[in-house]
């Protein structure tokens, strides 16, 4: 019976009844998916929204129970006093500076080494590549302590060199870019080489321009990592004026005052750039994550 109707339907494998059932299933499937996503979105956002709400409240409204979501009068003075009492501009500037230089340096170093591993030939290339990769398994604690010693020896403690230089090259970045470079068709480079181009010209004029998405991905990742970095700047920077935003706000936090509104205000400031960056660069971020997951 079903085989007759399947032929009548032009060779489809399922009968009408089955297809209707499947369509119904698809509906519930989608409902489940939307439900799960909504629940997840709510759970993910509520803490941040609560933080935002708290940052806009006056003192008496904070210690209300049951808690109030919408402050009856919006107070921005939590933000203004934060700026008044702490060197927020300096902290912001420091974070921006360290992040930008870090991203630029990382893109430069990693793209160069990725190009070497992907396209250039030299003895021991693959062994070296796996050696690079293996450093990803080293716990941060192992390198952190001697790095601190090295910073002290170089006199870089309490300077921004200590924040920027150790993060310039990364195995992750090299790995990501190398995987990408491998997908660029080598005919382009072969043609260029026949025309007499030198390697650095190929690198600059062919590889880099074609790698926009991959570079953007690495850039976004690096920026997030440097912007949010907490432990290392905490260890190497002592002067408040040189601190980056997370450390500075940790400092505000640490005064063990429970001025929650002000703390939340600081949080919102710190979160704003990452949120904006993420909204703009979302697909790069996702691509970067799935990229690392695929090849294992």
């Amino acid at each position: 019976m079903s085989s007759v109707s399947s032929e009548a339907k032009g060779g489809r494998l399922e009968s009408t009844a089955t297809r209707r059932r499947l369509a119904g299933k698809r509906c519930t499937r989608r409902a489940l998916a939307y439900g799960a996503l909504t629940l997840l979105a709510v759970v993910s956002l509520v803490p941040f929204l609560w933080g935002l709400s708290t940052s806009l409240k006056s003192i008496d409204e904070i210690f209300l129970f049951p808690p109030k979501w919408l402050p009856s009068d919006l107070r921005f003075d939590n933000y203004t006093t934060l700026w008044r009492d702490f060197p927020m501009n300096q902290w912001l500037l420091n974070s921006i500076k360290v992040s930008f230089v870090g991203v630029f340096g990382s893109l430069l170093f990693c793209s160069m080494s990725a190009y070497a591993f992907a396209r250039l030939r030299f003895p021991g290339r693959d062994i070296l590549f796996y050696l690079f990769l293996s450093t990803m398994m080293i716990p941060g604690a192992v390198t952190m302590i001697p790095s601190f010693v090295l910073m002290r020896y170089l006199g870089w403690i309490d300077t921004h060199y200590a924040l920027i230089v150790p993060g310039l090259a990364s195995a992750f970045g090299t790995f990501l870019l190398r995987q990408f470079f491998l997908t660029i068709p080598s005919e382009l480079e072969d043609a260029a080489r026949i025309d007499g181009a030198r390697y650095w010209q190929i690198y600059l004029r062919i590889i880099l321009p074609l790698s926009g998405p991959a570079l953007a991905t690495l850039g976004v990742f690096t920026f997030m990592g440097v912007w949010n970095d907490f432990i290392w700047p905490l260890i190497v920077i002592n002067t408040p004026e040189l601190m980056t935003l997370p450390v500075g706000l940790g400092f505000v936090n640490d005064v063990r005052n429970t001025d929650w509104a002000r703390l939340m205000a600081g949080d919102m400031i710190m979160l704003a750039p990452t949120v904006v960056l993420f909204i703009c660069a979302q697909r790069y971020f996702v691509r970067g994550i799935t990229f690392t997951g695929m090849k294992g």
Partner: protein
């Protein structure tokens, strides 16, 4: 040939200095007693011996194992379940993704402050919410029984989006026709999962598993920012104790030894996973 050398040079110098060089320096330091202000004092493996006698070492180790037990299964099961639920054509995925990725990209400092307020026994949102269903308020961060789970929940919450994305990518790589064929053969949902999804997802699961183990054993930020190791020693995990020894007490050699011990543990666990789980990782069906 020479081009390769020049292109590699910056990264190579960087790696030699900050990765390999550090590994060796750290190994050397672990064999010394050094407080950075006086010259290092070579003492051989005494640090390692002292570790075994150190009560706090064992406490921190035990706390860390507890942490991993709390975080590891949840970090895999929950995102996987979510990815399975969500693996359909969805409109507006970008908006959802922005929402569930926010915890991932947010700074831990910001998240810690928010959660400290959320967990507040008198005015926190969580206790208010629980109060709505009739549960008594809990002092989440001061109560020794609840503090670790509370911190673990925050950590899992923060990492949900990341792992879920990985699982989603893995799920979407599974060819649909396999499910169709199975359905025609009469396979039920559970059977489809067990015989198609799970095996073909195993590379992703394996990757997530390895990375989660490596990460959760090194936990520090959450502890430092939320509880400072307390109440008492309840949340003193290995990473935190290491930091205390190195950067508060300036027992640099001792801390370096701790770091190497951690390295050994992580390497052993990673190797074990590669050895025993990798066998069951299928890259193709059949």
């Amino acid at each position: 040939m020479r081009a390769g050398f020049w292109f590699l040079l910056p990264s190579a110098i960087h790696f030699l200095t900050f990765e390999f060089g550090m590994v060796f320096l750290s190994a050397y330091m672990s064999l010394t007693q050094w407080d950075l202000f006086t010259a290092p004092d070579f003492i051989g493996i005494k640090n390692y011996v002292e570790l075994l006698d150190d009560r706090l070492f064992w406490i921190s180790l035990r706390n860390t194992v507890y942490w991993v037990v709390l975080v590891f299964p949840t970090s895999i099961a929950l995102p996987l379940a979510l990815a399975l639920a969500v693996n359909t054509k969805i409109k507006g995925m970008t908006i959802f993704r922005t929402a569930y990725f926010l915890p991932v990209v947010a700074s831990m400092v910001a998240v810690a402050v928010i959660f400290r307020w959320l967990y507040n026994p008198d005015f926190g949102l969580l206790n208010w919410f629980l109060g709505l269903v009739g549960i008594e308020p809990v002092d989440w961060l001061q109560n020794r029984a609840t503090v670790m789970p509370a911190l673990a929940a925050m950590t899992v919450w923060k990492g949900l989006g990341w792992n879920m994305t990985l699982f989603l990518a893995g799920l979407q790589a599974i060819p649909y026709h396999l499910y169709e064929a199975a359905r025609i053969d009469g396979a039920r949902k559970w059977s489809q999962f067990w015989h198609i999804t799970w095996p073909l997802l195993s590379p992703t699961t394996f990757f997530v598993s390895v990375m989660t183990v490596i990460g959760s054993f090194q936990v520090f930020d959450a502890i430092y920012l939320m509880t400072g190791g307390g109440p008492g020693r309840t949340t003193t995990v290995y990473g935190y104790y290491l930091w205390v020894q190195g950067f508060r007490e300036f027992h640099m050699g001792y801390a370096a030894a701790m770091a190497w011990f951690l390295f050994a543990v992580i390497a052993a666990l990673t190797y074990a996973q590669f050895r025993f789980l990798n066998k069951r990782v299928n890259y193709e069906l059949g």
